[in-house]
């Protein structure tokens, strides 16, 4: 697919004897919300790590907007418009929500070798930061300190920070992790609002959310892509049902066979 925004071409990553990414091929078209699902240990976070540049693949290439970014460092990928949220909340705990997001804005507002002016008084940093907080529904909590916010609010703040870097594409690593049903529903609504404007690669365990949001779904098992397609096709795919959706059933049957 020549017009894909993100192309993952044969990416392989090994940790000792474990193949965490096994010749992964995946295209994400501009504007689509592409979900990656898979059981624990399927290599989802390893894949995200290679997309953001924290891990480098042993083989294969990663292309973003037609340019090879396989060897670019983390901060340069962010500069190109590839933003991520973290599975385990990774915020600046000693700062307020607004300060957190302002930093993300600052990262994309030219260099930071500016030593004199009070950064907290700069409207060109504060205004976009407030806008990003509003977009995820945290506008009223701008001055709250991270340490005093709930887990659900942390997840929203994660998203706001990714948005504040004015990305072309969002990589969301389990944004619903640890959320209650009500908070999850709110997050789904927020993502639904974003998907019209942004290309999103979503890694998520919450199947309800995935099938509600995704335009396409890729299923990863033991680092390998076993299926990729529209939600209806994935739901109907026999291999997926056996390897993932019906995992419980298979285990039970196997257990019974031994008994």
């Amino acid at each position: 697919m020549a017009d894909a925004l993100l192309q993952i071409a044969g990416v392989t990553k090994r940790f000792g004897g474990v193949v965490a990414s096994d010749n992964v091929v995946l295209d994400v078209a501009p504007g689509e919300l592409h979900a990656i699902i898979g059981p624990n240990g399927a290599g989802k976070t390893t894949l995200i790590g290679q997309l953001t540049g924290e891990l480098s693949p042993d083989a294969g290439r990663i292309m973003f907007e037609g340019a090879d970014i396989t060897d670019l460092p983390v901060y340069q990928r962010s500069a190109l418009g590839l933003a991520r949220s973290f599975q385990i909340t990774s915020l600046f705990r000693d700062l307020s929500a607004l300060d957190n997001v302002s930093l993300a804005v600052q990262a994309h507002a030219g260099h930071s070798f500016r030593f004199w002016r009070d950064a907290r008084g700069e409207p060109e940093l504060r205004d976009p930061a407030r806008a990003a907080l509003d977009r995820v529904g945290l506008g009223a909590r701008a001055n709250a300190f991270v340490a005093s916010m709930s887990h659900g609010e942390h997840r929203q703040l994660e998203l706001a920070m990714a948005l504040a870097t004015t990305p072309r594409m969002l990589l969301l690593d389990e944004p619903m992790a640890g959320l209650g049903p009500e908070e999850s529903a709110r997050m789904v609504e927020t993502l639904r609002g974003l998907k019209r404007h942004l290309t999103i690669l979503l890694i998520e365990h919450d199947m309800e959310a995935v099938f509600a949001l995704a335009d396409r779904i890729t299923v990863l098992v033991y680092g390998r892509v076993i299926a990729s397609g529209e939600p209806a096709a994935i739901r109907a795919n026999a291999e997926v049902r056996q390897a993932y959706l019906g995992e419980q059933e298979v285990v039970t049957t196997a257990g019974a066979g031994h008994g």
Binding site: S78, F92, R93, A104, Q106, F115, E122, A162
Partner: protein, 329 residues
């Protein structure tokens, strides 16, 4: 600026420092002048260390290196007959900055205890280099015959003038650090201390900012070394002994790491205690035994040590933290 207990305390310390020469000249107490000039100079070094350690999370255990470099550039040039301050001072700051650039470029690739060890190792290297400089006194050190010359209009040998010059430079340094930590640059430095991985993920090349911060701190501490050499008219490898680096860390921690004025309070507290505790012990021993026990005075560190322990265990914010929380009570 709001009138808080902390601001009042800072103002009080500044006023006391500003009026000290008056007191000294009225009482003829030149020792006070010498002591407080030294305190002010080392406070500049502590402010500089606090910039990287308190705000940047870079615990340098070799910060005395820049005291040494600043001092040795002045001393060596003086020995070679170049006593122009406009040559000595810029060169001293330049070499301090270059050394920081080299040390930082290598050590900032490591973290935690490795960073501490590498900064210590570099300082030990130049400590031994200085020991080997036979032409410049080796381990005996070198007396500087003449303080830095700035034409006719500035005379560093004037005790009062030199004191106020050091005080002005200290206040300028504190103001500079205050502006810097609140600027975009400072936000990046503190963000990298808090969560370096996230900083890179949102698009900051943190290494270059940390390195720049490390060099700025090195230059500032180099200035402290220049002043110290001019103050004592003497340089020796002891300037950069590792215990000196430790003293600077103690000043920053005692005063309050990561606060702009804390290290100044820490420097004053530590160095005044160093002077006062032996006298205090002598005084107490004379009450208890009827005559002063001179030998007991040597054990003043037995009192200072537990005091530091208490600060570290129960007052993480140092003296500054105690003052700031006194109102909340």
């Amino acid at each position: 600026m709001k009138l808080t207990l902390r601001n009042a305390m800072v103002a009080a310390v500044v006023v006391i420092l500003a009026l000290l020469p008056l007191y000294a000249s009225l009482t003829g107490n030149t020792f006070m002048m010498t002591l407080f000039t030294r305190i002010i100079i080392l406070a500049i070094a502590a402010v500089s260390l606090n910039l990287i350690m308190g705000f940047g999370g870079m615990v340098s255990f070799g910060h005395a290196a820049y005291l040494g470099i600043g001092g040795y550039v002045v001393g060596i040039l003086a020995k070679e007959g170049i006593d122009a301050g406009l040559v000595q001072w810029p060169l001293a700051l330049l070499f301090s900055g270059l050394f920081a650039l080299g040390v930082g470029a290598l050590s900032l690739r490591t973290r935690g205890v490795y960073f501490i060890m590498i900064t210590l190792a570099f300082t030990q290297v130049i400590y031994y280099v200085a020991n080997g400089l036979d032409r410049y006194g080796g381990d005996d050190g070198l007396t500087i015959q003449k303080r830095s010359e700035f034409g006719g209009f500035i005379n560093l040998s004037n005790r009062t003038f030199f004191y106020y010059l050091c005080l002005a430079l200290l206040l300028a340094a504190v103001y500079l650090v205050w502006r810097m930590v609140n600027s975009r640059f400072g936000r990046v430095i503190q963000g990298a201390r808090s969560n370096d991985r996230r900083m890179q993920a949102i698009g900051f090349p943190t290494f270059r900012y940390k390195l720049a911060c490390f060099v700025i701190a090195g230059v500032l501490c180099g200035l402290s070394g220049v002043l110290l050499a001019n103050h004592t008219n003497f340089i020796s490898p002891a300037l950069m002994h590792w215990t000196r680096s430790g003293d600077l860390i103690v000043m920053a921690v005692l005063g309050g790491m990561g606060t702009v004025f804390g290290p100044v309070l820490g420097a004053v507290a530590l160095l005044v205690l160093e002077e006062a505790l032996p006298h205090l012990i002598g005084f107490v021993s004379s009450i208890v035994t009827g005559k002063e026990v001179a030998a007991a005075k040597e054990y003043w560190q037995l009192i200072l040590g537990p005091m530091l322990l208490l600060v570290v265990l129960y007052a993480r914010g140092g003296i500054d933290g105690l003052i700031a929380s006194a109102r909340r009570g």
